[in-house]
């Protein structure tokens, strides 16, 4: 079942020119998303996942700049579009939801107003219709008493409801791609589960693709069809979700998965294995493979050269000179 390609990111590079030096937040990231697919973009804080999503939306602020690559959305390169063309795409074809719903919503306007605004901007309807649609959306995302809530301000709602409202806002124009940037990180675990359910549900109903950005591997396992693991601005492992979780090839992915505590594991009595060291400072990147100081399998070549993304198993890309768990020996 070959699905249509929706988004192709090719060698995206976004650098930040700060007074302390150049930060290569996104340094050659490539991935492909199909219609209706959920891609999980995983990595620790500061590895460039948010910047990737902002780059797709072309919302990167100074001192950041997209310096290279292509973002082919529905066949057209977004990086070549004018600001006015991008504006038409934002909110209507590609929508984004953010981490902190309290600060992401304007405190002085009602949520009804803020959702209606999105509809009125992109669709040719009058206010009354927009209001009706908004109330329907609020209902769709599971907000009780939607006509009352329409007139409420963000601070009058709970965190879970605010995030639902944000989702309603994002969905209002039936986008083809939804970018969820750590949308559930700030929520309680139970609310988190509800929101994820909601997102999955909507995705099925509408056939929307989701770029699901998170640092939480468990969420990825639940939500995603494919996974891309990022480290210091580069993708280090990219495959479908089963392959990555059952057979992680990159030492980093392997380390992340091993450090998840499990009630069922035989290793409950042993100390939790943690990846040694810390994410390097963007101003002092190690030479060669950026992961080498923390990698238990590092050798000389790792300290000198940066590996390319290779297909070590079918449809399973890894950026490593010594991938683990590989059936045939590649070196």
């Amino acid at each position: 079942m070959e699905k249509e390609v929706l988004l192709e990111v090719k060698d995206l590079k976004t650098y930040f020119y700060t007074e302390d030096g150049v930060v290569k937040a996104v340094d050659g990231v490539s991935f492909t998303m199909h219609k209706g697919e959920v891609l999980g973009l995983v990595g620790e804080s500061g590895c460039g996942k948010s910047v990737t999503s902002l780059s797709i939306m072309r919302l990167v602020d100074a001192p950041g700049k997209i310096v290279g690559g292509e973002i082919i959305f529905k066949g057209e390169d977004l990086l070549k579009k004018s600001e006015e063309e991008m504006r038409k795409i934002r909110g209507s074809e590609i929508a984004m939801i953010f981490q902190e719903p309290m600060t992401a919503l304007n405190p002085v306007y009602t949520i009804g107003d803020q959702i209606m605004e999105a509809i009125l901007t992109h669709q040719d309807v009058n206010e009354e219709e927009a209001k009706k649609k908004t109330i329907e959306l609020l209902d769709l995302v599971g907000i009780p008493d939607p006509d009352k809530r329409f007139n409420e301000y963000p601070h009058e709602m709970s965190g879970g409801m605010r995030q639902r409202a944000m989702i309603a806002m994002a969905m209002s124009c039936n986008p083809d791609l939804l970018i969820s940037d750590e949308a559930t990180t700030a929520l309680d675990v139970t609310i988190q589960a509800q929101i994820l359910e909601l997102m999955k549900d909507l995705q099925r109903k509408i056939g929307m693709a989701i770029l699901f950005i998170t640092h939480d591997l468990a969420l990825v396992a639940e939500m995603a069809d494919s996974v891309a693991v990022t480290y210091t601005g580069k993708i280090v492992e990219y495959s479908d979700v089963r392959s990555v979780f059952k057979n992680p090839h990159h030492p980093y992915t392997y380390g992340l998965l091993s450090s998840i505590p499990s009630l069922l594991s035989e290793k409950t009595k042993e100390p939790l294995p943690a990846i040694e060291g810390m994410v390097p400072s963007p101003y002092r990147m190690p030479k060669g493979c950026h992961f080498n100081p923390r990698c238990p399998f590092a050798t000389d070549i790792c300290r000198k050269e940066m590996p390319e993304l290779n297909e070590t198993s079918p449809n399973h890309l890894v950026r490593c000179f010594h991938p683990v768990n590989v059936k045939e020996n590649v070196s």
Binding site: R90, M96, F98, N106, P107, V108, E117
Partner: protein, 333 residues
Amino acid sequence: MRNYLIRRSLELIPVLFAIAFVSFWLVSKMGNPFAVLLLNPHVHPEDLRRLEHIWHWDQPLVVRFWFWFKDFILFRHGWGLSVMSPGQTALQLIGSRIPVTVAFSTTSMIVAILLSIPLGVYSAIHQYSISDYILTFFAFFGMSMPTFWFGIMLMYVFAVRLHWFPAAGSHAAFITIKGMPVEFNKAPWYLRTLNEAWYLTLPTLVLIVFEVGGWLRYMRSSMLEVKSMDYVRTARAKGLPERVVIYKHAFRNAVIPIITLIGLSFPGIVGGAMITETVFAIPGIGRLTYQAVMHQDVFVAMALIMIFAFLVVIGNFLADIFYAIADPRIRYS
């Protein structure tokens, strides 16, 4: 919301009372208001004592204060006698001087608001541009300027040297109509207003520069802070036109603290008006305060201090009210 208003209004009363008492205590130390009357050879010490008795001046401080406070609240007895202007009560004297001060200080505030808000927003949107640097420098200039000196300089350049504006006073004694000098009070209202506006231009300018200095910077920094807020990013991510993002989303939030600031600037404007009136010899309540202190006119000085205190307190109060109206987070909590 109504409860909030009521509570805040009630809180004003003890504050005003406390200010009144402290001020009265201080001002009484200036001296006996009636003693100056002794300069008149026709006034005998017994007359003085009788006057003092009528006005309760021979009683202890607290009693004196109580009688004065009652008179003030109820507008009785003209708030006391004026020493500087014999024959007039304090209320009459103050009443005659208030209009001028109100006229030029409110005009300055309105103009300052109309200038500083748009310029502050512009400055923030075009941060680091040449116009931003110029506006910021101008704002600092206005903030740092000693108002009395600026008034003197304006007077020197525009009045004394260039003769574009008059140097002192609030209006001319005579206005020329069809070649004939007409007494000011007998001239038609529009000519009178025009004439006063001409006289008050320089003093108003002094206040405007001072006010714009502070408010422009504040508007700029408020706007800068709001510009980088998450909800502005959300607004852009929704595909809203930049104009809507800036004016509907950013500005609406950025302007809230400015409203508060303007209310809290009342004390500064009061002080500024005082100095400017003194420099330009304008017969307003600012200059009157200075004169009252110099002449040890206790009743007039006290009444004026209470008026200023009232203005300051009202300013704070209005600032709170507007803040509550403008920010739904306060309104509905």
